[in-house]
Subunit: 155 residues, 2 copies
DNA sequence: GCAGTATACTTAACATGTTAAATTAATTCA
DNA sequence: TGAATTAATTTAACATGTTAAGTATACTGC
């Protein structure tokens, strides 16, 4: 038994907190992906970076930050880790000495190819349990929400 | 100009990564709330705890964790902060010595009453820009997603 | 061609997320 | 009843989130 005692409600209740609703849904999904990624020795964010890198021959840190939706300081640390693990190789950009470009190593591509199918299996589970139609509707609303409201911290 | 070079796409693209879509939408919302909370000297998570506390006369840490959707270690640190700021008062539960119960102090209630209206203003903006109907549809889908898929880490 | 400004990335500092282990108190059941 | 187990909270360790500041390079306009 837990010690809880009610008072009169004010403000919107938590069921109508949008950031909370988004967080809960995200956690419902991530609680399935996280253990799988962990078995491969990766965090969610490291996997986002690897995935973004897999789609490009080479990509600089700024683009990588946008595509993996990470802030620059987080990306710096994650790239340091991925380089140390030899999953990613860094080179400096000849045409702009401020910039670095990154590529997956062979080991990085191998991990990508191992994790990818595991990830797809979990997506398939989710689609089956929640329903493909509702999942598409959710994607559409989320994309429009982001499109309409934007990200007020974007440049 | 950024250094990006394409390769053949594999796997689902990021536009169809559900955790990413949820994260982007969440960030679109939070990028509006965060500066407001910051002006009040609070983080998003501290505000979640205050909000949960405002709805109860007293509540123990486990219930608080569930209602503010925080893991126990985070909650421990946040409550330490809120106690130091005298926004929250801790007492031990007479009937179970393992347990602590928490209440908002007068100062805590005052902050709650200051932040609440600012928060509602931002919600009103969002509802107006995105559309009340679509917002309700989004809430409904998110709630069902969480209901159907659950949180595999829950007890 | 250089002073001023902007850009790309990193570092710093502190808060939170995540998992595992530690601590203490309650509960169970042989 | 007391050993074993379970439950509530905290601590530890490391990764990421967030904001501000630092560093080096590129750009801009005079």
């Amino acid at each position: 038994m837990s010690a809880v005692r009610h008072t009169a409600g004010q403000l919107r209740d938590f069921q109508h907190s949008l950031p909370m609703a988004l967080l809960r849904a995200r956690e419902a999904a991530m609680s399935r992906f996280r253990p799988m990624l962990r078995r491969h020795g990766l965090t969610e964010q490291q996997w986002r970076v690897i995935r973004a890198l897999a789609a490009y021959q080479e990509i600089d840190a700024s683009e990588l930050a946008k595509r993996s939706f990470l802030l620059a300081p987080s990306l710096t640390r994650i790239l340091r880790f991925l380089e140390r693990e030899a999953l990613v190789k860094r080179s400096s950009d000849a045409s702009d000495q401020r910039r670095y470009v990154f590529v997956l190593t062979a080991k990085g591509r191998r991990i990508y190819e191992e994790v990818g199918p595991d990830s797809e299996l979990l997506y398939a589970d989710i689609e089956k349990e929640f329903g493909a139609d509702k999942l598409e509707a959710l994607y559409a609303l989320l994309a429009e929400f982001y499109r309409v409201l934007g990200d007020s911290t974007a440049p």
